[in-house]
């Protein structure tokens, strides 16, 4: 990219450039609409940066390859959409249990199955959290614009490296394909985080022994530590165990990491309008419709507030509860049949009445749909 960092950029390209600026130097993927521009862009850009691009034979292999790439000590990325995201789930679980930092982009399209390859959806919110089997840690982010997609990709790598968890970014077809004018920060101003490396000698090293940070240091294969990595439940040595106490210790630690760091992981954007009785809880492309609906309401003299989820998992339960306490009604607009609405109901704990504005036709949510709901409630 040229020195001038102000340009028209597509959301998918923002992922690719964000990844490069985050220090990602390995990508493996498989072509799938509407995410393919990420792979296409990186196939050209990564070798320019001394990195490597690999088109794998399938989605499962691509997920495996990025885990292998990350174990080699290089920040690694894969990108896909609904059907491919389904296929990747087993190995996403592997990254969770083996604590291998990886970033996974899912540019959501309509589902289920082959669904609507070229049309937007937000139908994978629950799959992003619970798609792989077993209790496992995972972080999921939902950007609502091109610049934010760039920033969130850097943040995703930073969190993945710091906490040793897979981080998913849920774009939707709208955010992936929209072009917006962006000014990217100068590369030297970008804060990047690298995984913590061990400093103890090989004899003392235990690959999965964590201090109070709950996160074990992670050498790369070839660094001289000769450790074992497995998808089986393991003890602090990294080798499989059937000792029930050790099993529980290990699983509580990997799941507990996200509780421990919850406050620095969960990010929301709150916009409070004085005297509002109605609040919108929104995320991703639906936030764009929501902003318009807020504006329309304001013009009619109806104050409406908004809470936008930038981190969708772990869920912003505390923030939503506080927001619910301030509002009589909450509206959750989304391109699915209410996946986040159910979570909001749970978090709001009956402090407000919750309504959904839902769309699964492949159309974006018309701001008027949200506005009509606002008028109905005001």
């Amino acid at each position: 990219m040229s020195e001038n960092r102000t340009l028209m950029m597509q959301g998918n390209v923002a992922v690719a450039e964000g990844a490069i600026d985050a220090g990602c130097r390995f990508f493996a993927g498989y072509p799938i609409t509407p995410s393919s521009e990420i792979a296409e862009h990186l196939s050209r850009r990564l070798p320019e940066m001394g990195g490597k691009f690999l088109q794998m034979e399938d989605e499962i292999g691509a997920m495996g390859a990025v885990i292998g790439g990350s174990l080699g000590g290089v920040k690694s990325l894969t990108a896909t959409s609904g059907p491919g995201f389904s296929l990747k789930q087993e190995n996403i679980g592997y990254a969770s249990i083996a604590e291998v930092p990886v970033v996974i982009i899912n540019v959501m399209r309509g589902g289920p199955s082959t669904g609507l390859p070229t049309l937007p959806s937000q139908g994978d919110v629950m799959q992003a959290r619970w798609g792989t089997h077993g209790d496992h840690p995972i972080i999921v982010l939902t950007p609502a614009g091109v610049r934010e997609t760039y920033d969130m990709t850097i943040r995703a790598f930073n969190m993945s490296e710091k906490y040793r968890v897979p981080v998913v970014i849920l774009l939707d077809e709208i955010i992936g394909h929209v072009y917006e004018k962006v000014t990217l920060p100068p590369p030297h101003t970008i804060e990047t985080i690298e995984r913590k490396k061990p400093d103890e000698p090989l004899e003392k090293f235990r690959a999965y022994r964590a201090d109070e940070s709950m996160i074990p240091p992670m050498p790369a294969f070839g660094d001289g530590y000769r450790f074992h990595v497995t998808g089986l439940v393991h003890d602090e040595t990294g080798f499989p165990t059937n000792n029930t106490q050790k099993i529980e210790e290990m699983l509580l630690r990997i799941n507990g990491k996200l509780d421990h760091y919850r406050d620095e992981i969960v990010e929301v954007e709150e916009h409070i309008e004085e005297g509002s009785q109605i609040g919108l809880v929104t995320y991703g492309s639906s936030a764009r419709s929501s902003r318009n609906a807020m504006r329309m309401a304001k013009e009619q003299g109806i104050p409406v507030s908004m809470l936008r989820l930038k981190t969708i998992w772990p869920f912003a339960t505390e923030e939503i509860l506080a927001f619910a306490k301030k509002h009589k009604y909450l509206i959750v607009p989304e391109l699915n049949l209410g996946q986040v609405k159910h979570e909001v109901e749970h978090a709001a704990a009956c402090h407000s009445e919750i309504f959904g504005v839902n769309k699964i036709s492949g159309d974006p949510i018309p701001p008027t749909d949200i506005f009509n709901k606002i008028k109905e409630l005001s």
Binding site: P47, K52, E57, G64, G68, F221, G222, R226
Partner: protein, 269 residues
Amino acid sequence: MDYFKYLRMDKFPHIWCPGCGDGIVLKAILRSVEEMGWSKDAVAMVSGIGCSSRTPGYVDFNTLHTTHGRALAFATGLKMTRPKLNVIVVTGDGDATAIGGNHLIHAARRNINLTVLVYNNNIYGMTGGQASPTTFTGDFATTAPYGALENPFDIANLVVAAGASYVARSTVYHANFLGKLIMQAMQKQGFSLVEVMAPCPTAYGKINKKGTPSQMITDQKKLAVRVEKAKNMTAEELQGKIVIGKLVDREMPEFVNNYERVIAQAQRR
């Protein structure tokens, strides 16, 4: 030679049944590593799921026990980001040719510099003896109580056709010969695979009445035909035989080296 320096002795006893061929393959791998002069830090061993795929747990290398069928995918990513590591993949017939079949043919097509050992016992041993893609037609398995209907894969020739640089086959009876082939596979720059016929007396032998473990291994001697001799034999004469030796050994551009050239080209622009 001193095998012990390569083993994680605290992980023994191993999980393999008495009479299993897998330990013989492990020893042959270690002899080859010793002869290659590779330091333990410079070797990564990657596996999938199954009996053979437990091998990495016992060796003092950088070891990666992945998901079922995906060893080659993980190994490909690792080799891409750490080209200097000598990456050995250990897998079985079910892991490599059923659930992982796609990765097998594509890793061979890509001709990435990995050394692959397929321990072929013609059955799913770890899960209790179900039919695999290499179970012989008519043989019994817990999921083939009336005899297997399907045709078995010829793993080595499948990989030859897919474009590997080096492909060979041996049995565990021919342990020294096996070591020699593994050594050649390790020396080769490109995708190299050695298929090893490793009998499973517990899951395969018992249900198919193949006799004692030692008999299963000595039977391999009777069935084996050197590839040079097999060239002059008819298909009928080769029926039920095991062709051993080097099937292909060819010079072809290797994937990671090729990619380094792509980087140089991209950076010149």
